[in-house]
């Protein structure tokens, strides 16, 4: 076997190694500019009680979770049982942000599948979503007592993610 005929194979092996490493890194996971910044303020109607509004300032002093969802989002349906689990643990209040949705559709979905949220704010035109840099639903934020965003996750939550990252983070934040 002549060595030069091995060159393509060697090049390919190097390429595969890089591709394998690349697989474990998420190109979409651009470090969010919002991490360690104050959560953008808003004051919009609640989903269930349109005559009352929700304002993140009212959560001051508590560690809480903001979950962006919508009734039209299939990945949210996948995420739903995990959120129910999260709500059951009562570790922190879960506030929903119903993003670009129709009120009746959203209510129907919660009625059918169970409501894990302490309350949901209704962002029908997606204006609040722009401030938070939402580019895919669902997204989840952990916000501390001072209203600073400490963690952001794009895509459905998983039980593993709750146990390995979110619960420890919330406990640590609650200690301080």
């Amino acid at each position: 076997m002549k060595a030069k005929f091995l060159i393509p194979l060697i090049l390919f092996v190097i390429l595969v190694i890089f591709l394998a490493i690349g697989l474990n890194r998420d190109p979409h996971e651009v470090p969010s500019p919002l991490i360690n910044k104050p959560a953008p303020a808003f004051d919009i109607p609640q989903l269930a009680q349109p005559n009352q509004t929700f304002n993140p300032a009212s959560m001051k002093g508590k560690v809480w979770i903001l979950n962006v969802w919508a009734s039209w989002c299939v990945a949210c349906r996948e995420e739903h049982p995990v959120l129910v689990e999260l709500a059951k643990s009562q570790i922190a209040p879960v506030i929903g942000l119903d993003y670009k949705d129709r009120r009746e559709d959203a209510m129907a979905m919660l009625a059918k599948q169970g409501n894990p949220y302490t309350l949901s704010a209704f962002d029908g035109n997606g204006r609040v979503g722009i401030d938070y840099g939402v580019y895919g639903v669902p997204e989840t934020y952990v916000i501390d007592q001072a209203g600073i965003i400490r963690f952001k996750h794009i895509g459905p939550l998983t039980i593993d993610l709750l146990n390995q990252k979110i619960y420890p983070l919330i406990r640590e934040l609650q200690k301080s």
């Binding site: 194979l9 390919f12 390429l15 595969v16 190109p27 299939v74």
Partner: protein, 638 residues
């Protein structure tokens, strides 16, 4: 019940594809005829089963069966029927099913049209294709099953991404995939010849028409995609060096090199191991492209967040297919004879040089595409590589290639007197220089880059015309000769289009209210008004613009801004007045205060020549394939 039939057909297809992949190869190795003969019926059965699966999925879309998860995610009861059918391949699972279905279509074509070939060779080729089919079917069944149920069924579907609600979706993916997947045939021929140890000119002769056919589809597929991006995305460009575009362009460049290299191997018996390597590489790059698009390792307009298991599966599959092929190559290729000798000034040399430029350009595009991934893997940060890199690296490599293209066809096999060639080409050189100087002046502004573009394009055109005229004097030119000339002419037309748009396009972003005008490229465009226009599954704001030249109204353009009911992202639907020498492109932006609108207007000279050139390349390919001499050769090969 019906989706389960599709699911079952896929499982059965996997079983039969394994038989198709294993028994004929083992049979050919051990000389067992009773196993060899299984190749054709197995391939036919796989094709039949995949056709059933494909039709079942189409049916589920047609009847709006939202209990099928894939249908619920990509369709909607309000979606027009045509797009419901296009939506079959509008997502990951369905497009993979299309990939496999087309692979088995190529397989069955090889099986039916190769009656005259050596039966060991055919069995090996079908066997290799069977192994590839099995791997992909396993992938679909384990990670990307389009027949997965959603229980309870959704009330309505999420609908197809509005970007994809366009006739482009119906044609572009199947064309592109036909090309992509078609290189599997050249690959299978190459592997079969390595396995048999008969790395001779015969396999090049057999795989040539198949490679050309795949190349024609790939050319058309890429051109359609580019045209679609131009008129649908509303960005006004025709190529963005997006990773997914590159994933189809890299195999095209290597495929083009393969076409030329196969000619040398067939006619002269030279470059055998190089040609085999190109055949393996072209298909490997198609698989790599599938990996890049389907695993989500790169960010792109085409890629969406995906299941990590998919990436791992395709990577393992890629490693197995390409790794084993390259190992086989390293073992067997050194044994091939080196073929006949040729001098430094011969057609062989020119084709080899062209090959080197094509492969280097493919390598540079691949490097730029993978660079963000490499940097990220080395923990050096997140970067993206854009058009400035590609333009400054790719374009200079194309310059010598176009120079060679004017000379290469004049050279003879084995040895050519270059002085005679130069004597015959002085007129072409003169035409090229004149065109390079005068056309920019006619267009109003001389730039060196534009001058160079026209010089090279007219060099190729003039050289081609001279040669056709010379050939016609000797006798009727063969189809394969004309095919080569037409394809090269297509490249020149393409270069003219690119040069014109690059140097002389005008773009204006203005704020307009009814009655106001904007001037672009010698035309005046006046906004008449913006009205509400309802569509089947969207509500649109439609602008009416008068297109005027010298005070005379030529036509009215109606660009739209659409809000689809199922999506909240507004879509721009540009209006284009297309013409042979220019396109006028109007797109409607946001509504501003006091009833005025943001409007973007482009004047794009000769932009349609870009796609016209691609079409000519494809016509050239078809002409070359249909050469009579060729069909006789195919028959003689038995």
């Amino acid at each position: 019940m019906i989706p389960e039939i599709g699911h079952y057909a896929l499982i059965l297809a996997l079983c039969i594809a394994l038989i198709q992949g294993v028994l004929p190869l083992v049979g050919a190795h051990q000389g067992r005829r009773e196993w060899l003969v299984l190749a054709r019926p197995a391939a036919q059965t796989v094709f039949f089963l995949l056709a059933i699966a494909f039709l079942v999925l189409a049916w589920s879309f047609y009847v709006n069966d939202f209990s099928v998860l894939y249908v619920a995610e990509h369709s909607n009861s309000q979606l027009p029927v045509v797009y419901r059918l296009g939506a079959v391949w509008g997502g990951h699972e369905g497009s993979l099913l299309l990939w496999i279905f087309l692979l088995s279509t190529w397989t069955i074509l090889v099986a039916q049209l190769s009656q005259a070939l050596d039966e060991f060779m055919v069995a090996r080729v079908i066997g290799v294709l069977g192994l590839v089919t099995s791997g992909l079917l396993l992938f679909v069944l384990t990670t990307s099953n389009p027949f997965m149920r959603l229980l309870p069924a959704a009330q309505d579907g999420r609908s197809l991404n509005p970007l994809l609600q366009d006739p482009g979706l119906v044609f572009h993916p199947p064309m592109l995939y036909m090309g992509y997947v078609g290189f599997s045939v050249a690959f299978a021929f190459a592997i079969a010849s390595l396995l048999s140890g008969r790395l001779d000119a015969a396999w090049a002769r057999w795989s040539r028409p198949w490679t050309t056919a795949a190349w024609v589809f790939l050319t058309l597929g890429i051109a359609l995609g580019s045209w679609w991006a131009y008129y649908e995305l509303g960005w006004g460009g025709w190529w963005f060096w997006d990773p997914v575009e590159n994933a189809s362009f890299i195999p095209w460049l290597v495929g083009t090199a393969l076409l030329h290299s196969l000619a040398v191997t067939e006619k002269r018996g030279s470059f055998k191991s190089w040609t085999v390597l190109l055949a393996i590489t072209a298909f490997s790059l198609s698989l790599l492209g599938t990996f890049l698009v389907r695993s989500g390792v790169l960010t792109s307009v085409h890629a969406f967040a995906t299941d990590p298991r998919r990436g791992i599966f395709i990577l393992i599959f890629l490693a197995l297919v390409v790794g084993s092929s390259l190992t086989l190559y390293a073992l067997r290729a050194p044994k091939s004879s080196s073929g006949s000798k040729f001098s430094a000034s011969s057609r062989e040399t020119f084709i080899l040089l062209g090959n080197v430029f094509l492969v280097v350009s493919a390598g540079s595009v691949l490097l730029g595409t993978l660079y963000p991934l490499l940097i990220d893997a080395l923990h050096l940060g997140k970067i993206s590589v854009g058009p400035p890199y590609f333009n400054s690296v790719f374009v200079p490599i194309m310059i010598p290639l176009l120079v060679l293209m004017g000379i290469g066809p004049w050279t003879h096999w084995k040895k050519t007197d270059l002085l005679t060639v130069i004597k015959r080409l002085w007129l072409a050189g003169l035409v090229a220089v004149l065109a390079g100087i005068t056309i920019p002046l006619i267009m109003g502004e001389f730039t060196w880059l534009a001058g160079l573009g026209f010089l090279l394009a007219f060099w190729v055109i003039a050289s081609g015309c001279l040669q056709i005229a010379r050939q016609a004097k000797i006798g009727k030119p063969t189809r394969s000769f004309m095919g080569m000339q037409v394809a090269h002419l297509g490249i020149a037309i393409f270069v003219i289009g690119v040069t014109m748009v690059g140097a002389y396009q005008e773009e204006k972003d203005v704020r307009m209210s009814a009655g106001e005008t904007v001037a672009v490229g010698g035309y005046t465009i006046q906004l008449q008004g913006v009205n509400v226009a309802p569509g089947p599954n969207y509500q649109a704001m439609r602008g009416a613009f008068l297109l005027m030249k010298n005070g005379k109204v030529e036509t009215t353009l109606y660009p739209e801004k659409r809000s689809y009911f199922s999506s909240t992202m507004p879509m721009t639907e540009a209006a284009i007045d297309a013409g042979l020498t220019r396109d006028i492109y109007v797109s409607l932006g946001e509504e501003l205060a006091d009833k005025s609108w943001a409007v973007r207007v482009y004047y794009k000279p000769f932009v349609d020549w870009i796609w016209g050139g691609c079409l000519l390349m494809a016509v050239g390919g078809v002409l070359a394939m249909s050469d009579k001499r060729y069909r006789m050769k195919l028959r003689r090969a038995s």
